[in-house]
């Protein structure tokens, strides 16, 4: 069957006839299995849904019908490289990469010289576009943007001193608190202390004891830890009687956090979007429920859904799907309305300025407290 496929691909490449000119292929080298599947799978679901909708209306920019070539990267960088090489060779016009920096940068280094605009599903590391080049774009709220919004929130609440908990095990768990500290101190706050953990360590007794012993106690505790570390840390922290408010990032935007019960009360964290009544996101969730019988389990479905619409806006502006034109159009997009707010690439390093939502947990429910695009002047350099 490999030979059939090969023949089909070769045939398609040989006779790129004008009749097919309106069809373009979008390559997706994303992690449908393995450790990243939790984010890449729902992103793909949303992505496919939007592609169907746009195709039903005549395609990207009203004239380019999208076909998808989907390859699983198994959360493995070598497999991602291989998939990207295959997709680039097959002549895709746009490449979509996984929700992580390693595979996204590795794939981008292959698509960049081929001049193929490449977007990461929900890679949050702000260094991704800079590491690859001018054809690489982020789509999701970046770590430094999330951190900036959290720091600004902390200042508004009047917190003067913060404790940050970070883990060197991943860029997300290490850099996000560091970005927070950068903005927080710049705005006049002080970092009273910082702790370090290992992803999966479960026992936070040492860190909790350290926080409890601090005098004066910090006004706020900030971390980008997520499951299973965040729930363990939070329970041990509250168990020790520390009542300082806790700030978190989008990594805890899952039902697990609200399921923690009373200890989770008062947590404020960032998210790409919250389906408040009357918002486009709410409408999308309803539409999704009508189509599939259940609401999306994570916001990744929505952020995945937004990407074809970002492409649609760029193709409409460019009037073309050729690499350089599409790249320039993407880079100049301004205030594109999507489900979770507005997205702007103009004036950025291709990690978009976009709305980020802050939510607070009370009684097992989230409620939005702020949706805003952080001022680029506040966002720390990646």
């Amino acid at each position: 069957m490999k030979i059939f496929r090969f023949a089909a691909v070769a045939g398609a490449m040989l006779c790129a006839s004008p009749a097919l000119a309106e069809d373009i292929t979008i390559g997706l080298a994303t992690a449908q299995t393995g450790g990243l599947a939790f984010a890449d799978q729902p992103s793909l679901v949303g992505f496919k849904m939007a592609v169907e909708e746009i195709n039903a209306k005549g395609g990207l920019g009203g004239k380019y019908m999208m076909k998808l070539d989907i390859k699983d990267t198994r959360t493995d960088t070598a497999t991602t490289v291989q998939a990207a090489q295959e997709l680039v060779a097959a002549g895709v016009k746009v490449l979509i990469t996984p929700c992580d920096a390693d595979p996204s940068i590795a794939a981008g280094q292959i698509s960049q010289p081929a001049m193929i605009p490449t977007l990461t599903f929900c890679g949050t590391t702000p260094t991704i576009p800079g590491a690859v080049g001018d054809y690489m774009f982020g789509t999701y709220p970046a770590d430094n943007g999330q951190a900036a919004l959290l720091a600004i929130h902390a200042m508004t609440k009047g917190y003067k001193s913060a404790y940050i908990l970070k883990s060197p095990d991943s860029a997300y768990t290490l850099r996000l608190p560091e970005y927070f500290a950068e903005v927080f101190t710049k705005k006049g706050g002080t970092i009273a202390g910082e702790g370090s953990y290992t992803i999966g360590q479960q026992d936070f007794a040492a860190e909790v004891t350290k926080i409890k012993a601090m005098n004066p106690a910090p006004d706020v505790i900030m971390t980008s830890a997520y499951e299973p570390d965040f729930p363990a840390f939070l329970q041990q922290l509250r168990g020790a009687g520390v009542t300082a408010p806790v700030l978190g990032s989008d990594g805890i935007d899952s039902p697990t956090t609200t399921g923690l019960g009373a200890v989770a009360d008062g947590i404020v964290h960032t998210t790409a979007g919250y389906p408040a009544d009357g918002t486009p996101l709410r409408a999308f969730y309803d539409k999704f429920k009508a189509a599939t019988g259940a609401e999306p389990e994570t916001v990744y479905v929505a952020t995945g859904y937004e990407i074809p619409y970002i492409l649609d806006a760029a193709v409409t502006a460019a009037g073309s799907v050729e690499g350089p034109a599409l790249r320039d159009a993407l880079a100049n997009l301004k205030d594109v309305e999507v489900l979770t707010g507005k997205i702007t690439y103009a004036g950025t390093n291709r990690m978009p300025n976009r709305d980020i939502t802050l939510v607070e947990i009370q009684g097992g429910k989230r409620k939005p407290i702020l949706t805003a695009t952080p001022d680029p002047a506040d966002v720390p350099a990646p």
Partner: protein, 601 residues
């Protein structure tokens, strides 16, 4: 390098066959599937290189290493820092020390630095590793995996920590990958039959016996590990230049799992197995990867299911350990099956079985005592084993015979007293040093290198005496001939019948050209005919080569018949010494030993 001298021609031929097969497959895949095929071939060739690096240590030593992927990471980072374009480096690694900045080396030059880094890392990590027992060593490699992973994350100025290390030029073409795979096949295949490989395999089969055959277990493990780590670092550097961007997690458990699975599926015991395992699993993964996106034949459309490759790999692993525990290749290497002995006729055949000496010497046990806590296992034992004579050591169970043997052979250090060979003290020497000092031995429960040929079993001992590969094989063959096993030199020791196993063990001990030979119950389990034959062989040995024999035996009839002198132990004390006639009539012996036996019957 002297390492390769005397490697049998079949090793070269076997390597050639494997390289040709690998190259042919890579070419076929590249031609059949164009650009995609070239990518598949490149990745598979890199995996072969990685598995071979692992196989050089784990296959030969039998110690599974979980740490190799981390050492591959070291190679990838070292090479990446050195080859990275200046501009990218300035933004990716702003805090890099001055002397490392802007090197922009070619891949070839960078690989030399990588090999040096591998040598240092391998040598240093080998120091603790080679001191561990085989079981602990495997766990030790796991510790290396974690330590290196944490170190790579911590060294942020050099590695960007857990963040993606990007901008590594993608220099690993299919040709580079093939060159590496071919070189590694050659090294691994030749090593297997080279002196170091033989000794390492001997330690894998039986550590105690290897030491008794004069093999310095620590040293050969250390050497094998270091070579293996150098190869891993090079494989990792090439893998890094295939990926272009990576982080420490790309060289962690997942890669370890892939490499170890490939080695287990193919078979740890052969180079053919390592290559076959890598090819097979790479093939399974690639075929299933195509299938998982769905198959559309026009009339029939099968929807895609993601996750098939992992499923396939898991199943292959399960099937292997269930149906073929030794892996696909089992014990056989690909290539012609020329007997290794075909070369031996060209080597000098006349090598003495015992080393020359000026005066008749003796193995002397002097005032040896051994305490285990409060228990006195041996108390002030003294006796001598003269050259050219047979000394019998007897005693009822618990008399202290085993402790005494262990002290003489260097496995234990006595609390007091000393053991000398021809006046030279050997007390406190390690087992392999005692063996090289002139004491060969056999074991009560025969210890052979089961999955090695008879010739290889004996050659290992000859090699430890410092002979080069060719003469060592000649000596081994001569000893096999002496014990009547020459016609079966190419067969695996594990296939030998009981009596032959005893004789093979003696042949191996004789290949040390020992001054003295310690035989621990040599006739146990032999029938009368075999026993008679053994007595004949021992008599000839003593007469021809003036070897002194120390025989521990339960068969009283045999020991009386064989011995010139006898030493009797009971409850840690020497209760009698003398001719068999004296012993037979000694009242203390009758009471302590023979008497109790008579009563027991």
């Amino acid at each position: 390098m002297s390492l390769w001298v005397g490697v049998p021609a079949r090793a070269w031929a076997g390597a050639a066959v494997l390289i040709a097969c690998t190259g042919g497959l890579a070419l076929a895949v590249s031609l059949a599937f164009g650009g995609t095929g070239i990518n598949i071939a490149t990745l598979a060739l890199l995996q072969i290189a990685g598995v071979l690096a692992l196989a050089v240590f784990s296959g030969n030593s039998g110690i599974v290493s979980f740490g190799h992927s981390a050492f591959m990471g070291i190679g990838a980072y070292v090479a990446g820092v050195l080859t990275m374009p200046k501009g990218v480096q300035a933004s990716a690694l702003p805090h890099l020390p001055q002397w490392l900045q802007g090197q922009e080396l070619s891949l070839g030059t960078a690989l030399i630095a990588v090999a040096a880094a591998g040598l240092v890392a391998g040598y240093l990590s080998g120091i603790p590793l080679s001191r561990l027992s085989a079981g602990s060593a495997a766990i030790g490699t796991l510790a290396f995996l974690i330590i290196i992973h944490v170190t790579l994350i911590g060294a942020r100025d050099f590695t960007r920590g857990s963040q993606t290390f990007y901008g590594v030029p993608r220099l690993t073409t299919v040709f580079v990958a093939f060159a590496a795979a071919a070189l590694f096949i050659l090294v691994a295949r030749l090593l297997r039959d080279a002196p170091l490989g033989l000794k390492l395999r001997a330690t894998r089969e039986n550590e105690v016996a290897a030491a008794a055959a004069g093999v310095n277990v620590r040293a050969v493990r250390h050497a094998g590990w270091t070579l293996s780590i150098v190869m891993a670092a090079i494989a990792g550097a090439l893998y890094g230049h295939f990926l272009g961007a990576f982080s420490p997690k790309d060289f962690y458990f997942d890669l370890t799992f892939t490499l170890v699975s490939m080695l287990i599926v193919g078979g740890m015991l052969t180079v053919t197995g390592a290559v076959a395992g890598a090819v097979l699993l790479a093939g399974v993964v690639q075929i299933l990867r195509q299938a998982e996106t769905g198959i559309d034949l026009g009339f029939l459309s099968i929807p895609g299911v993601f996750g098939l490759p992992q499923l396939g790999m898991g199943l292959a692993l399960l099937l292997t350990i269930w149906r073929r525990p030794l892996g696909l290749a089992g014990l056989k290497e690909a290539g012609p099956d020329w007997p290794a002995s075909s070369r031996i006729n060209t080597a000098p055949p006349a090598v003495p079985a015992a080393r020359a000496r000026e005066t008749r010497g003796q193995l002397e046990v002097r005032n040896v005592s051994m305490r285990f806590g409060g228990l006195m296992a041996l108390e002030n034992i003294s006796f001598a084993v003269p050259a050219g004579k047979v000394t019998g050591l007897i005693g009822p169970n618990g008399a202290g015979k085993t402790t005494l043997i262990n002290i003489i052979c260097g496995q234990m250090r006595p609390s007091e007293g000393e053991v000398n060979i021809d006046g030279q003290p050997i007390t406190g020497m390690a087992a392999h040093e005692v063996a090289r000092a002139g004491l060969g031995r056999t074991f009560q429960n025969i210890r052979l290198f089961e999955r090695m040929t008879a010739l290889e079993n004996v050659t290992v001992a000859a090699l430890s005496m410092g002979h080069a590969a060719g003469p060592a094989q000649a000596i081994a063959m001569a000893q096999l001939e002496r014990l009547g096993l020459a016609s079966r030199s190419g067969q695996l020791a594990g296939a030998f019948a009981y009596g032959d196993r005893r004789r093979l063990e003696i042949a191996r001990a004789l290949a040390l050209s020992p001054r003295f030979l310690l035989l621990d119950e040599p006739a146990a389990g032999m029938n009368p005919a075999e026993t008679d034959e053994l007595v004949g062989i021992l008599a000839a040995l003593r007469a021809e080569h003036d070897i002194g024999l120390l025989v521990v035996e339960h068969d009283m009839r045999l020991i009386m018949r064989l011995s010139d002198t006898m030493v009797v132990l009971n409850k840690g004390q020497k209760i009698a010494e003398g001719t068999p006639q004296d012993i037979r009539n000694d009242p203390a012996v009758i009471e302590a030993y023979i008497g109790t036996r008579v009563h027991a019957h």
